[in-house]
């Protein structure tokens, strides 16, 4: 399966655990391959599942929103 969308995330902004949770939450919609990139970053390659090709943009962007939400929640739980 060829990756349709690629995003580079910073591990200082998006927690690894948050990205893993997003991968799990969105497994019905897409397969996301995460590979380490230079400078504490991670490269996410999105392959949208066939049934959700029509909403591929929404799937990727909702995934990123979810990962951001969880990262902020984890940050707040640690600090407050």
């Amino acid at each position: 399966m060829t990756a349709q969308f690629v995003r580079i995330l910073d591990n200082n902004i998006y927690a690894r655990k948050a990205v893993a949770e997003a991968q799990n939450a969105f497994r019905e919609y897409c397969t996301v391959k995460a590979t380490p990139a230079k400078g504490g970053q991670v490269k996410l390659a999105f392959s949208i599942n066939t049934a959700h090709q029509n909403t591929a943009r929404e799937v990727v962007l909702e995934f990123l929103n979810y990962a951001l939400d969880r990262s902020v929640q984890m940050d707040l739980e640690e600090t407050e």
Binding site: L9, R57, N65, L68, V72
Partner: protein
């Protein structure tokens, strides 16, 4: 979602805001200086905006900066993205002030909470906490009767 190229070009001139597009559509990018705005304020603001738009946060091009990408959830004109970015900046300023006040008043707040819990711990006997029900109207009584002639 189709960006008006003329509008997009004009918006590139606005300091801190840039409207661009990629394979996920049109977005407005806001550059935030983390020497001015605390990172936690930026992240909390981004968190608040995830319900109304798509938000992506990345390190900025300049050191000590963050780049926020905002995308509309529904098809929208570039004017909408620009106003979204401006509202984001206002909300960020609001959050930054809240953070500063929280830091400045943190000790007072902690002292008040400690005092409140300490006072509460002095009344652990439930019989002391029973309310006085003597003034509660009995069945058949009504405030309309006004037996004390309050009116």
């Amino acid at each position: 979602m189709v960006a008006n190229s003329k509008t997009a070009k004009n918006n590139e001139d606005i300091a801190g805001l840039q409207i661009s597009s990629d394979n996920l559509g049109v977005y407005v990018a806001v550059s935030i200086d983390t020497a001015i705005f605390r990172r936690v304020a930026v992240m909390k603001t981004a968190y608040w905006y995830t319900d109304q738009c798509y938000v992506f946060v990345a390190k900025g091009d300049a050191p000590d900066s963050l780049k926020i990408e905002l995308r509309a959830k529904e098809p929208a004109e570039t004017d909408f993205l620009e106003s979204l970015a401006r509202a984001f900046c206002n909300r960020l300023l609001d959050q930054q002030v809240r953070e500063m006040i929280a830091i400045e008043t943190g000790e007072i707040r902690d002292a008040l909470v400690k005092k409140a819990f300490f006072e509460g711990s002095k009344h652990l006997d439930p019989t002391i906490l029973q309310s006085n029900e003597s003034a509660v109207p009995s069945p058949g009584q009504s405030y309309k009767d006004d037996p004390l002639g309050v009116e």
